[in-house]
Symmetry: C2
Subunit: 211 residues, 2 copies
């Protein structure tokens, strides 16, 4: 396990994708796969794959291919998927509701524990049996329930303030959907999903194509 | 404008972020900003910002700072935001509904023109006055209405097949939320939003922190 220290961030970002492909292979009862075959499926070079896998241990022997189950199990473990994480949603608008209703997160270890909003007409509603609480109770809730991840789905106004409260209550990571770059301490991982920026990138590429 | 050819992809991906910060500056009536000030706000080095802006023209004079309005207008134009794009949603589940109900896309030039699903109990429903059609009409619709972007929000099963139909009907770009890497021709821009992979990255980082 000593080889696992300091896996570079680009490799980490590829791990879920490796996991997804390995899961498909496992489901189709494939036992072994070579870096060449995996590379063709994933659009990566075999040497890139070997380099990546080298970051977290010794797998497979040259010419024999990788054992799909061993690799899948190792990557799942590195991803912390043998752990369970508790998350909450702040802001139960369109995106918040989509996240709340998405049952797949539970299957990969992320359990929704609470929903918060500022809007009185939403407080008290239930989504998948989870009640929406007033956001003023958020600090108490995070501390008491030892929440790991906060999914911020509110407008950019107020997002930093909520984020500060979460951090001071001991939140361990932030999953941010608000269209703002949040300031968080270095030891609190932050993952952004900026949907407007994603569609704007397509707009740019389309505009370029039409020139 | 000749300097605008071949803006590198990492710079393109930063453009929506620049736009977001410049919009905030514009809304607070800031007329000029130096690369140093902008860098502090955005977490980039001043030289990075100058390099980026250099890709698409000459702005500002050394020591005088950038004119916020000129820069905002130029970036908006490069992003194709003076264009209007027509998009459709395929799959009106949780994420599809969130996208359909999100009114902000219209303000940045992306107009929802149609929604498609395979589920008979959803066909005929309306979201923001847009009716859900049977997916079997999708090819006809894309051709007739000259649709630019398809937002794929279905399960991975069937996603590639729908994608192929869209491409053969002349779709110009794909915005993919299905947990799969779609194969598209090189001239059809593809932008992925893989939510499970995003939360798994947080899981990994939390797991590492706890070691």
């Amino acid at each position: 396990m000593s080889k696992r220290k300091n896996i570079p961030m680009p490799v980490i970002r590829r791990l879920p994708k490796y996991r997804r492909y390995l899961l498909e292979l496992s489901e189709s009862d494939t036992e072994k796969i070579s870096s060449t075959e995996l590379g063709i499926k994933m659009g990566l070079t075999p040497s890139q794959i070997r380099q990546d896998f080298n970051c977290f241990g010794d797998f497979g022997q040259q010419g024999y291919g990788y054992n799909v189950e061993v690799l899948l199990s190792t990557i799942s473990e590195i991803l912390g998927m043998k752990m369970k994480y508790k998350f909450i949603i702040i802001g139960i608008g369109n995106i918040g509701q989509a996240i709340a209703k998405y049952t797949r997160f539970e299957g990969i270890g992320f359990e929704l524990k609470g929903i918060f909003d500022i809007n009185p007409s939403l407080i008290g509603l239930k989504f998948r049996n989870i009640e929406v609480y007033d956001v003023k109770f958020i600090e108490e809730f995070v501390k008491e329930k030892n929440i790991d991840i906060a999914c911020i789905c509110i407008d950019k106004r107020g997002a930093q303030q909520v984020c500060d409260k979460l951090v001071s209550s001991g939140i361990k990571a932030i999953w941010n959907f608000a269209p703002i770059d949040l300031n968080v301490p270095k030891d609190v991982p932050l993952e952004n999903v900026h949907l407007s920026e994603s569609i704007l990138t397509l707009g740019y590429l389309l505009n370029e194509k039409n020139k």
